[in-house]
């Protein structure tokens, strides 16, 4: 097995790590670095639970190799709140009960954070389109969409 020494900037902090070629970013985050906020749902690009931001853009961490991202900036759900203060989006999820079991929530938050950055005032359809790759088995989606709408009225992603 070939290993590589790489550095990832995770939530603003540089991390050096050794990864085998076939280790996905998802496994590197969860199993090597302990960022277990990023969830493993399917490992096939279908569910979006593993979504993180790479240089600000959402990607399925189960479909990217850690070694491909040497030197890049990764944001996980742990990196959203600052000094314990939730982002308006996180706060809206809490206020509107957009979370039930919570398994999809980190991925939802990452996709929606990226949406609000590229489009601070999305329509309901814009939100549906942006979250198509994030499956939720509990909420029926409406409260999640409402939370994103609420956050967009309360000043975007931060």
């Amino acid at each position: 097995m070939v290993t590589h020494t790489i550095s990832l900037i995770i939530n603003g902090t540089e991390e050096q790590l050794q990864v085998p070629s076939n280790m996905t970013l998802l496994h590197a985050l969860r199993d090597k670095l302990g960022f277990t906020g990023t969830k493993n749902g399917c490992e096939a690009g279908e569910c979006g639970a593993c979504t993180v931001l790479v240089d600000g853009e959402p990607m399925n961490s189960c479909l990217v190799l850690a070694v491909e991202l040497n030197g890049r900036e990764i944001t996980t759900v742990e990196g959203l709140a600052e000094d314990g203060k939730l982002t308006p989006l996180q706060q809206a999820f809490a206020d509107l009960n957009a979370v039930q079991c919570g398994y999809c929530t980190p991925g939802m938050l990452m996709s929606a954070t990226a949406l609000l950055k590229r489009n601070p005032h999305p329509s309901e359809v814009d939100i549906q389109e942006a979250l198509i790759g994030n499956l939720c088995r509990c909420t029926g989606y409406q409260r999640i969409i409402d939370a994103v709408l609420k956050a967009s009225r309360n000043g975007g992603e931060r």
Binding site: V2, N22, Q128
Partner: protein, 297 residues
């Protein structure tokens, strides 16, 4: 212990030059797999538990991520350009709008940040969403091999499900699309099990443009996926449409002809009969939309 098995074993390598690629392909043959976004490759390797000697990443080769537009010759899109880049690119949106429509129907937003045009084309899936649009735009692939570059029309590039005309040691560097005829309007209609995010049960691309030389005054090109071993054009239907004055009845007749040509197989997404009927419906809908856009512009 990993909670899940993860990916089968391989060694990751970044190709620095085309020579690197030829060299490794020559030396190691089937042990080498080529990587762009990995959204097909990783899923297939995991499903089939298929390891590889080397996974050779082609994304960082010069030019692979470039889009260049020329008013005279058309647009060149590097194989590693992502589908989100395609759907957002101003020249694509302006001159090759149907490509940007098609790109937007693939999977979901985060997937499209990785999924590339080159990967969609080289994977050669009969249901590839970029295929019908690429066919009606008469795209050509640039293939790079030890003996140099060659261009090949897309309808000759796909030879069967998952099979391409790539020769040993060759790889795709870019896709070229000539400028569509002036006044062209295009529409890609995709039917999945859900409104968004699913693979195509049937996808139909229609491109129409004014042509005073033909009795109809308009020419159509029609590209269809998911209903034959590869995506395909239907030249007989296109000819039928050109040779008589256009009306709803002719559009209906043409759509039925397209349905007759389609040759779907029963799969997990739909029965063959349903797919055939949907070829009929989507072709009619696409023709009608493009036609009315053309007469209103």
């Amino acid at each position: 212990m990993l909670a899940r098995p993860g990916l089968p074993d391989f060694e990751y390598m970044k190709a620095e030059s085309a020579q690197d690629v030829f060299h490794l392909l020559k030396e190691k043959g089937n042990e080498v797999k080529l990587l762009l976004g990995g959204t097909d490759l990783f899923v297939q390797m995991r499903d089939r538990n298929e390891s590889a000697g080397i996974l050779l990443d082609l994304k960082y080769l010069p030019g692979m991520k470039d889009i260049s537009y020329d008013k005279k010759t058309g647009i060149n899109i590097g194989a590693a350009v992502t589908l989100n880049q395609i759907s957002a690119h101003p020249d694509v949106k302006k001159h090759f709008q149907i490509l940007s429509q098609a790109a937007n129907t693939v999977g979901n937003y985060q997937l499209r940040n990785r999924a590339t045009l080159g990967g969609n084309i080289c994977n050669a899936s009969p249901s590839a969403d970029m295929a019908p649009a690429a066919l009606v735009l008469e795209g050509e692939v640039s293939l790079s091999g030890p003996d140099g570059e060659r261009m090949l029309a897309l309808d000759q590039f796909w030879v069967g499900p998952g099979k391409t005309a790539l020769k040993e040691c060759e790889f795709l560097t870019a896709v070229h699309f000539p400028n569509p005829p002036s006044g062209a309007v295009g529409r890609y209609l995709k039917l999945g099990r859900s409104k968004m995010g699913d693979l195509a049960i049937v996808g139909v691309a229609v491109l129409g443009y004014p042509d005073p030389e033909v009795p109809a005054g308009i020419r159509f090109r029609i590209g269809i996926n998911s209903t034959a071993p590869t995506a395909y054009r239907v030249p007989q239907v296109e000819e039928l449409l050109a040779q008589a004055p256009l009306n709803d009845e002719l559009l209906r007749q043409a759509s039925e002809e397209a349905m007759k040509i389609s040759a779907p197989i029963e799969d997990v997404r739909a029965t063959a009969l349903y797919q055939k009927k949907m070829v009929n419906n989507l072709t009619f809908k696409g023709l009608k939309e493009v036609w009315s856009q053309l007469i209103n512009s």
